[in-house]
Symmetry: C2
Subunit: 357 residues, 2 copies
Amino acid sequence: MPTARPGPNLSRIATSLGVSVATVSNALSGKGRVSEQLAERIREHAAELGYVPSQAARALRTGRSGVIGLVLPDIANPLFPKLAQAIEFAATSAGYGVLIADSRGNITAQTEAINRLVERGVEGLVIVPRRATRISAASCPVAVIDTASTPGNTVAADHWQGGRDIADHLAELGHKRILVIGNNPESNVQNDRVGGIRSGLRPDMHSSTLWIERLEREHGTGCTLGLAEKVREGYTAFAALSDLQALRALTELQRDGIAVPDMASVTGFDDLIFSPVITPGLTTVAMDMATIADIAISSLLKTIQTSGSREGMLVGADTDRVPMQLIIRQSSGPIAPGNGDPTKVDPAKRASQTETS
Amino acid sequence: MPTARPGPNLSRIATSLGVSVATVSNALSGKGRVSEQLAERIREHAAELGYVPSQAARALRTGRSGVIGLVLPDIANPLFPKLAQAIEFAATSAGYGVLIADSRGNITAQTEAINRLVERGVEGLVIVPRRATRISAASCPVAVIDTASTPGNTVAADHWQGGRDIADHLAELGHKRILVIGNNPESNVQNDRVGGIRSGLRPDMHSSTLWIERLEREHGTGCTLGLAEKVREGYTAFAALSDLQALRALTELQRDGIAVPDMASVTGFDDLIFSPVITPGLTTVAMDMATIADIAISSLLKTIQTSGSREGMLVGADTDRVPMQLIIRQSSGPIAPGNGDPTKVDPAKRASQTETS
DNA sequence: CTGAAAGCGCTTACAG
DNA sequence: CTGAAAGCGCTTACAG
């Protein structure tokens, strides 16, 4: 004998009201043509009894679970909270639940995570792929959130434009030598961001790039970035490709007695949780997570509604690029035009002082 | 006519193999007594066809959805990634899926989130309650993760002991005046942490507490904490109740030219993602998320298995206290015994210099 | 406007 | 060891 559910079901409501289950179902869903009077009585009674519809039965009958899956490369990623929150909100608003899976570790784990979700009957998947992973369509519609340069991508922040905004900002402040600080050159996102920065430099500006993972492979985790040395070499701006790296740069500079933003500027990406609260506040470029989530969810649902739900396909042929927004918190630059603050020291001079000490 | 699922089902496998669905079901689940030979053939054929069991049907039949819900006060909380990751891992290992819900905003949203998950048929709920919220049993088993001083709590890090560890550490470094920096005195967690710190102070040590939200209500968001002034008053250690506040303290001190850890120590709580990468690394106390998640999930599943799944009840009468672990990254303190480093300046002297400048 | 009935895909006693 | 059958709770054409 199948396990009985504790709560009331349609049949119980129907019997106690002397009507058929069909009518109760119709009244509650508002679909069938039930007299408003009866419908009202039914709704009332259902509420009284604390009726909760069985999603399982509904899913079995209709073939739709009302659930989508969210696969993340690493939930511990600091960007994740905002993304998950935005996706959860967009999905909930559309009446869907969100099942999460962490593809931590390797690509195998990612595949397993996808399979687990499919087995749980998700109608579609939102995937933030692991670095340099190509999602070959799973057995349900998939929306990929990564970067425009990822094949099959659905929606992404316009990382390139974000980079250009940073370059513009630094140019306006009068910086000439920029050190870009990234983590890993394999990342599509980080590459787009550097590309954008470089493309936005003025002819008289120069940049070079420091990849932290590479540095750490040589000198060990947590090694110094040698930023004070860079300041001595004439760099006045440090453009990190993520706020996490920006924070590392900022604290290292401060520790070495280099005043930020008076002697050097630091910028980041992503507007992570800590960026507004540190001193000085971090100038950064933020992804519009709400819009990204809305687009991902709505494209996904559109595909689900159109196709039979179990066909695997990637959603969205051309990546939707969502603008990133520059948030200026550290306003002063060393050579800012019209910057007449007398307490500010010429960075070149100060740098040479540091050098001789 | 009900919507047909695209994939193969038990019946299709049964027909094509000339056996009954019951036998296929038994073979695949390994429960029934099916000859190993036939079972093998069935498994093979099922794999060939790419059979994926219908969770909906299984759930309907057995009354168990195989899904639990995770309700978070604010997914954007920086602590969330680690928690969610740990919960997801523990649940997945036990064969359960995890549905997320964000009770962002107010208590109403929390209640709605809980209801949504219950309607989706979760078998149990892991809830991290909003500040000062008491979870009155929902209509399914609930495990609460908060702090031991929250009524009905199931499992928590031992925040009090973590505080005592911080106090011990600061005492050993020779600090006498400690400024505790918290965010909100309404938080049970933060209160436990302060309590622990105070209880661990030696008789010759003194502490006072700064609540940031209170300060900001008076002076505006992002106002200075006035820490340099505190250094001048003789405080040498800043014990924040979260790494986020520690970071704020650290950067403010650095900006004001106070060397950390030479002139002042800064400690935090939670070992957030950025804590190991900043300079100097942050000394902090970490929650053992894996253990906390394991306990939450296993108590929850135990209750689910015992009781009929729809009864509302809180899991775990006495809170399980999981030890927190001190992570020392900033080792030097201003008055550390045997600390003969000549480059180190007496904090009081340096502070007075700052004062006259 | 309302009801009887079929069927989604599975599991589980029960009979053979 | 294997199969026939009931039933989980719902929705949806269809008939009245």
